[in-house]
Amino acid sequence: MGKTIKNTWFQTHLTDLLSYAGLLLCIVVFSILSKGKLWSAYNLGILVQQTCVYAILAMGAIFIYSMGYMDISLGAQLGVYCLLLILITNASGSLVLGFCSILAIAIVCGLINGYVSVKLGLPSIVTSIFLNAVFGGAQMLIMERLGTNSVSMTTKLKFFKQMPVMLAAIVIIAVISVFLYQFTQLGKHAKGIGANETATSISGVNTTKWKVLAYVFFGFCIAVGALFLTARTNSAGKGTGAGYAMDIMVSLLLGGMPLSGGMRSKISAALVGSFTYVILANGLILSGVNTTLIYIIKAIVFMAVILMTCRKPSGVLPR
């Protein structure tokens, strides 16, 4: 029962088109409502700045979500890495050393994270709750030990705060992600694992190895995200990173990423999603919407998007 080419193409790309349409609609609506403020040079700059960290994290998260895995320890990890970046850089006086250290730590944590998720035989979201407790505890502990609300970096990260640099970072990470995702075993196996782990394993794929590697890349992205998050304010505290795990999840869904992973996963979901997410928040404020109404509007937009992109029209109720 073969279907025509056109039909298949349309079906596979329908969710992409819808999420692009969502972003476009957001832009158009807020351009009008904000009376053009959305497009002011200043606003474009802060949009890039605000999206940068989300986009980098979301692209790393795609590798995890592709496998049908979820992670809520992201925020606490981000917080810990930001703190460590500042502390190590302050102690050694070298940003390079600071960044390399957190990169190394992030990769090791990624390994641990991956093995825990794979080996415990629990839904990954549950294992990530454990890790969230550990990372969150570490973050609190560091702040308790420091005895301060917020630590600042002595060397200013001005360079990483510039809009062209942030834009370049998004592009570079996007290029790396797309390369890994489309043209190496990592991305292909991540999708394969999400679509059918048994079949992938029987095809001779070392699923444990690739799962762990996916987590390692995720860790890499968190470390890079931590650098840019720190650069924004030059400081970090006990609340740094809080809420990011959920924000990323919502962003990915807005970008049309299926939570079950598999072949419909795509890097563009991270970019489209994080931009939609940030423009939504920014646009609502620019349009002068009452703060208490912002939440309900965001919720309704989210429902509308998922009803368009995630609806399974036939068969049993989707799990």
């Binding site: 802060i46 605000q50 609190m140 924004r232 928040a281 002068g288």
Partner: protein, 384 residues
């Protein structure tokens, strides 16, 4: 015919009045200029929020100001920066903020965008100790008014006096970590000094024991605290007691222990104060929303390009009156007449016109000293 003329005249007047539009006119000669001010507060719910909104709504007409609200975080710098950026983007010329997280980065951002910042109900302790030059020395930071007094030793003294007068013998003290709230640790020391003074002269049987400080890591008091000190008969929670301590007392049936605290929330602490409710709360402390006139006037003047003749060179943090509630009468007064409690602009210490008169740009006689004086006359005793 006369009637028709009168009607026409009235119509012309209405039109002309509305035609003045943005340049709002009242009291004959004062012409105010329209400004858009961002209000970034660290929370988006609660008594203080309602009071702030009521006050700002009340003065927005006479002051010819438009307010845009945003919510800050007290522990995440990036959230605050994002909120401030969005406010700048939406066209705010100046922003008042009540959280001190990531302030240096925020000022940097505002400086480059040419937007002024001032603080309210926040002592900017973090910046005050670690980034003073960067924040208080920045020309785009206009100063801040504390949530009451930066030093709350006076309250500790008053509580100590009450403790002695009421004959409590075993006192627990709860504070937030010193790094975040050094004034609470200081207040605890003042409290101990006062008690020690009393103990020096008191008979052995009357001596008061003060337990060591219990430090709350911004999470509620644990039940085991009461097991540790079963004899405790009075609790002085300098840390926000209504939210962090009282719930634990209720859960453990310890509301018989009198509680002195700070940070009046106008909920349980109002209902159970003194002789009402379970009477657990014996004293509390807060400051009023009207103290916002300090940063607001500085901001409006700055935006209008004027300033007080006696304006200090460097931005200051100033104290304002605290609503110190230590008796049923105090509480009754606050409940009845304070804007903080009623969120009714009619209860405000200042009318819109009075606020206009506080600004140098609208009243050439206005002085900085007067402004500071005004916000220091907003205590319980001043409630009309």
């Amino acid at each position: 015919m006369k009637k028709l003329l009168a009607l026409l005249l009235a119509l012309v007047m209405v039109v002309s009045v509305s035609a003045v539009g943005s340049a709002n006119a009242f009291a004959d000669d004062v012409k105010t200029t329209h400004h858009k001010i961002g209000i970034a507060h660290y929370t988006d719910a609660g008594k203080a929020v309602d009071a702030i909104r009521a006050f700002l709504d009340g003065i927005s007409g006479p002051m010819n100001l438009e307010f845009v609200y945003a919510t800050l975080s007290t522990y995440d710098e990036a959230t605050n920066l994002t909120a401030m950026q969005n406010l700048i983007s939406s066209g705010c010329e100046g922003i008042l903020m009540s959280a001190d997280m990531g302030t240096p980065a925020i000022l940097e951002e505002c400086e480059s965008a040419g937007v002024y910042v001032a603080g309210f109900l926040c002592d900017y302790n973090q910046s005050y100790w670690t980034a003073n030059e960067e924040v208080f020395g920045n020309e785009y930071f206009l100063g801040t008014v504390c949530d009451g007094h930066a030093d709350i030793g006076f309250y500790a003294e008053d509580v100590a006096a009450q403790v002695i007068a009421n004959g409590y013998k075993h006192i627990g003290v709860v504070i937030f970590p010193e790094y975040a709230y050094p004034n609470q640790a200081a207040a605890s020391r003042v409290f101990r000094e006062k008690i020690d003074e009393f103990n020096a002269t008191a008979a052995d049987a009357d001596k008061i024991e003060v337990y060591e400080d219990q430090v709350l890591n911004f999470s509620p008091l644990e039940a085991t605290y009461f097991s540790n000190y079963p004899e405790m008969d009075c609790l002085f929670s300098i840390a926000a007691g209504a939210g962090m301590v009282y719930p634990t007392m209720v859960a453990n049936g310890k509301t018989n222990i009198p509680l002195y605290t700070s940070g009046f929330e106008g909920t349980d602490d109002a209902d159970n104060f003194g002789s009402s409710g379970n009477g657990c709360f014996k004293g509390t402390l807060c400051s009023t929303a009207e103290a916002m006139v300090y940063p607001l006037c500085l901001m409006v003047d700055k935006l209008n390009g004027t300033g007080y003749a006696d304006l200090p060179e460097k931005a200051e943090r100033v104290d304002c009156s605290a609503l110190e509630i230590l008796s049923d009468e105090d509480m009754a007064k606050v409940k009845e007449r304070a804007l903080y409690y009623s969120a009714d602009f009619a209860d405000s210490f200042l009318s819109g016109e009075e606020v206009v008169q506080l600004c140098a740009s609208y009243n050439s006689d206005a002085t900085y000293a007067n402004l500071v004086d005004v916000i220091n006359h907003m205590g319980v005793a001043d409630l009309k």
